[in-house]
């Protein structure tokens, strides 16, 4: 997605400069979407962990019994069809989070989260596309 042809270099992005910028509602230990920061904040073992939309590939969900499962796939090296040298990663040798799965009895809320993540992704892709066109 963001692996455009406009440059081989990795473009720097960042969700927050410090903890003070985290939205207050992360204290509920639920997934929070911060549209302004283009960031999805995931509860991981009591931590509130931001992931910039540029790191996210897609989100999906499925219902199983009493629970709804949400899966978020991340951008990582080794999964692009294209040439390796075009891979825009700051450190392709690092350890990457490739996916996370969550569950909740509240399927409606997870539905919304999936929708919001994918909308955020679409907007980011669109901006990227516009930048490319401007550069041409």
């Amino acid at each position: 997605a963001s692996s455009g042809k406009e440059g081989k270099g990795w473009k720097k992005f960042q969700s927050y400069k410090g903890e003070g910028a985290l939205p207050a509602e992360v204290d509920r230990l639920r997934i929070v979407i911060d549209r302004k920061a283009q960031t999805v904040i995931l509860p991981i073992h009591g931590f509130a962990v931001p992931f910039h939309i540029n790191t996210i590939k897609n989100a999906s969900k499925n219902d199983e019994g009493d629970f709804t499962y949400l899966r978020i796939n991340f951008q990582t090296p080794g999964q692009l069809a294209g040439k390796k040298e075009d891979t825009p990663f700051e450190d392709p040798e690092a350890t990457f989070i490739r996916s996370v799965s969550y569950r909740s009895p509240d399927g409606h809320r997870l539905d919304n989260i999936v929708k919001h993540i994918n909308d955020l992704k679409k907007e980011a892709n669109k901006r990227e596309q516009q930048k490319k066109e401007m550069a041409d």
């Binding site: 991981i44 992931f51 700051e90 040798e93 990457f96 989070i97 909740s104």
Partner: protein, 188 residues
């Protein structure tokens, strides 16, 4: 200044959903849940170190014990820091050490085994930690992918409406060499 008792409200013990009161006195640290009989104690003589870090429920006070266990208490506010630092110093001669968190929003970093925990470090700062004790199953796929599955904490039905979202699985991509993610106790 001895004999002072300090109290902190709305503090969580570990990852529990219920909050309670923490009291710190010369004898040690005690926590009691507000709506149940749950308690936690740390005796002064067992206390070795203390850390302060940002977590989801505001700030965490992490106490390191003589037997290498850790007790974690969440729910402290930023303003509590000085009070906590003072009381630890006064009663136990322990310095509260601040541990920086990572908030860049990156999904790449370094994994580091710290006792029973797997830490994910981004730019030398901790993004999160996973408890290996909670790992129900782990898998290695295609030499570059490791997945960790977690035991669900909340069983079906009766789950409280206000419960958090439960992480059930996380997958890591480890380029080149899977042994990078392998620690002494990672064969769970």
């Amino acid at each position: 200044m001895s004999g002072g008792i300090y109290q902190f409200e709305k503090i969580y013990h570990g990852l529990t959903a219920e909050s309670g009161k923490m009291r710190v006195a010369a004898a040690g640290v005690a926590w009691k849940a507000t709506d149940s009989e749950k308690v936690a104690y740390v005796q002064a003589e067992d206390l070795k170190w203390a850390q302060w870090l940002r977590v989801a429920r505001d700030f965490q006070l992490r106490l390191g014990l003589r037997d290498h266990r850790k007790e974690k208490f969440d729910g402290f506010t930023r303003e509590d820091h000085d009070k906590v630092a003072n009381v630890l110093k006064t009663h136990f001669a322990i310095t509260l050490e601040t541990r920086e968190g990572a908030f860049k929003g990156w999904n790449w970093g370094v994994t580091d085994f710290q006792g029973q925990e797997l830490a994910f470090i981004v730019s030398d700062k901790t993004a999160f930690e996973l408890s290996l004790a909670d790992v129900a199953n782990s898998n290695i796929a295609g030499k570059t992918e490791v997945s960790l599955e977690f035991t669900p904490q909340n069983v079906s039905k009766g789950a409280p409406k206000n419960m958090g979202d439960e992480l059930t699985e996380i997958r890591f991509y480890v380029p080149g060499n899977i042994t990078k993610l392998k620690g002494p106790s990672s064969d769970a």
